[in-house]
């Protein structure tokens, strides 16, 4: 499909003082690269752009005399399209940092390019834990969550409450494979068993055939190693095929707030899911989310969008401290500085490029428990930052000395 390449959107701040000496071209260019129109557009998409703008404003770039520009492009969830945009941004448009980048296959490609061109990459929505494993890079930070953290949160909680036999419905690309692999490891480690798996094309609208196979497996848990519309369609059609009535349960391994909103509480109630952020966690998240919603047709932010805000804010702080926008130098500075923002609170970044903060195991509320729009989750457990992510020595990241 021919989709519009959105291109440069806005120059956000004008320089008032003298330009900082080491900022290339005197302007910091941030490229938001994500799915602007397809299946992942609601969970990141234009909302991530809003979040990036808020970060630039909250940082006070204009007052500090720093000139920051935000560019936006639609990678259509295609690695070739994403790579081409990344190359053009780095080579021609002099973009300094690419942020967000959902779709693991795309982000793995862009990760390579950022390294090759010696620029910076801040991943919020892309999920594969390989970004801080085999594919770790001195040019990238993996910000919000990853497949290991999801598996560790949702997977182990379910196995521990008796869901010990699993059947996976896996999106057939890098993300699905990574999520399935990490979850399977958690299931097996906790004494569970995987009875079967099926890899469905990405995206898939009709899951009936796969649901039938899952039903036939008699597994207690049907693990959904997919995301966005794939997850919502599977759950919706699962209700039709009597999956839950037949005694099987879905485990949504990556479910965003917007997915729950699309499903409706009626269908989503009781789902366990792991996220790094929810708007209704504390006063800070509430007030930040309220500001976000006002600028994003009243939709509350997802953790992906919150991560874009947090990562851009910290990036700008590092650039300010360093007085340079040189890719690996800024990334190194970011790792050195502790993080602090309204969405994730205080945190830090590990040498392998993993940003760490607590993760939360949420349960989706029953319709009767919800007090209004977007009131969807209750906290089941808080996973402390030091346990939420894969220990550094288990990731096979070449940058980490064993």
């Amino acid at each position: 499909m021919i989709k519009a390449f959105l291109g440069a959107l806005a120059a956000l701040a004008l320089a008032t003082g003298p330009a900082a000496a080491q900022i290339s071209d005197g302007v910091i260019k941030i490229g938001v690269l994500n799915d602007q129109s397809g299946t992942y557009a609601d969970l990141a998409g234009p909302g991530s752009v809003v979040a990036a703008r808020m970060a630039v404003e909250d940082f006070g770039a204009a007052k500090k005399g720093m000139k920051v520009e935000i560019l936006v492009a639609d990678h259509q969830n295609k690695p070739d399209v994403g790579s081409q945009i990344a190359r053009q941004w780095f080579d021609v448009d002099k973009v300094d940092v690419i942020v967000d980048v959902p779709t693991s296959s795309v982000v793995l490609a862009v990760n390579q390019i950022a390294r090759e061109k010696n620029k910076a990459l801040l991943v919020s929505t892309g999920a594969t834990s390989d970004l801080t494993g085999k594919a770790c890079s001195p040019n990238a930070i993996h910000w919000t969550y990853d497949t290991w953290a999801l598996a560790n949160g949702t997977g182990s909680a379910i196995v521990k409450t008796g869901g010990d036999t699993w059947f996976f419905l896996t999106a057939d690309y890098a993300f699905g494979h990574a999520l399935e692999r990490d979850t399977e490891a958690v299931v097996v480690k906790n004494g569970g068993k995987v009875l079967g798996k099926v890899r469905h094309p990405f995206p898939t609208a009709d899951f009936s055939s796969f649901l039938l196979q899952a039903q036939a497996s008699k597994a207690k848990i049907i693990g959904l190693a997919n995301a966005g519309a794939d997850t919502t369609n599977a759950i919706k059609q699962g209700a039709e095929f009597g999956i839950v009535k037949g005694g099987q349960q879905f485990a949504g391994l990556l479910v965003f707030l917007t997915d729950v909103n699309a499903l409706g509480l009626d269908k989503a109630q009781g789902l366990l899911l792991t996220e790094a952020f929810y708007w209704d966690l504390n006063d800070q998240t509430r007030s930040w989310s309220k500001r976000f919603a006002e600028r994003h047709h009243q939709a509350m932010p997802t953790m992906a969008q919150a991560g874009v805000y947090s990562s851009v804010l910290h990036y700008l702080k590092a650039v300010e401290a360093l007085k340079s926008d040189d890719g690996p130098k800024v990334i190194a500075k970011m790792k050195e500085m502790p993080t602090d923002d309204p969405v994730f609170g205080k945190g830090s970044i590990r040498p392998d490029g993993r940003k760490i903060h607590p993760m939360y195991l949420f349960e989706v509320k029953k319709p009767s428990e919800s007090k209004g729009p977007w009131d969807y989750y209750k906290v089941r457990a808080t996973i402390p930052a030091d346990q939420a992510f894969r220990p550094m020595d288990q990731g096979d990241c070449p940058m980490v000395k064993k």
């Binding site: 609601d42 898939t204 009936s208 055939s209 909103n261 409706g264 009626d266």
Partner: protein
């Protein structure tokens, strides 16, 4: 065991294939009817299918009218919009090459989908299965949701009804005659332009009806037609452009083949139809049921 799969499971998968084939059949039928008479490759078909689903959603949200009414009113409403499109724009392209109609309808589809996406986002809106059709039956080899059974019955009825009208009635003979030689049919005193307009409206209404059928199964999503329409075009090409029976039979048949692929090699289930299309085009360029002109 049959090919490593218990026969019961295979049976279930065949049935699922038939259900998915229902959508292909209804959509490709509309495309065939339109192409047959108007010579227009209607690329807005996917968007019109999506509009049918949205019409059902609007009727429920704004007017409190449920599924039954939606099945009746949504096709009429979207069909009327189609008629408007034909009268104001497509008519002007009637005597030009296929390519002009294709470009216009493709552009319209992008505009319509873009507008809906802008307004409603990309994750879709929920639409519940109508009360009397919830639940299902255990057939022994599989659990058949009542709603899916309804989809097959409805689609078969509509498809066969359409086939009957076009191939076996007087009205149908006018239509077919106008396809062959519009000038001559007009000379006999039949209002061909009006017939063309109504046919387009009917084809669009078929797409909208399929959209209403799809609403309770999938999310009501601005992009629901965008991916589907490409598959449906492959179905039409395999069946033979403009062949009524061809599009019905290939629609159901390819649904079954796709269903089986989902069991034996799920990774290829998105591509299998295009592989078949390539093979058919090589062996029989006019399609399985098409006539070479």
């Amino acid at each position: 065991m049959l090919l490593g799969i218990p026969p019961q499971a295979l049976f279930g998968q065949l049935l699922i294939g038939l259900i998915n084939g229902s959508f292909y059949a209804m959509l490709s039928l509309g495309l065939s009817v339109i192409f047959g008479l108007l010579n227009i490759i209607n690329f807005t078909h996917g968007a019109q299918y999506m509009m049918g689903a949205f019409a059902a959603y609007f009727l429920l949200q704004w007017a409190g009218l449920g599924y039954g009414w939606a099945l009746l009113l949504a096709p009429v409403a979207v069909g009327l919009l189609g008629i408007g499109l034909e009268r104001t724009m497509l008519k002007r392209l009637a005597h030009l090459d296929h390519l002009y109609g294709l470009l216009l309808t493709f552009g319209m589809a992008l505009v319509v989908q873009g507008l809906f996406r802008n307004e409603f986002g990309s994750s879709g809106l929920p639409y519940a299965i109508p009360g009397p059709l919830t639940g299902g039956h255990d057939l022994g080899f599989m659990f058949l949701p009542n709603y899916r059974a309804w989809v097959v019955v409805f689609s078969l009825t509509v498809c066969l009804g359409t086939w009957f009208v076009i191939e076996r009635t007087k009205l149908g003979s006018y239509l077919r005659a106008a396809t062959e030689n519009p000038a001559l049919v007009q000379a006999f005193g039949i209002n061909v332009p009006r017939m063309v307009t109504l046919t387009y409206g009917f084809g669009v209404a078929l797409a909208a009806a399929a959209g209403v059928l799809a609403a309770p199964i999938y999310q009501v999503n601005p992009l629901m037609g965008a991916d589907l329409i490409i598959v449906v075009f492959a179905v039409v090409v395999i069946g033979g452009m403009g062949s009524i029976l061809g599009s019905i039979v290939t629609g159901f048949g390819l649904g079954v083949i796709e269903g089986l692929t989902k069991v034996f090699y799920p990774e290829a289930s998105n591509t299998v139809i295009f592989v078949i299309m390539a093979v058919v085009l090589l062996i029989k360029p006019a399609g399985l049921f098409g006539r070479t002109q």
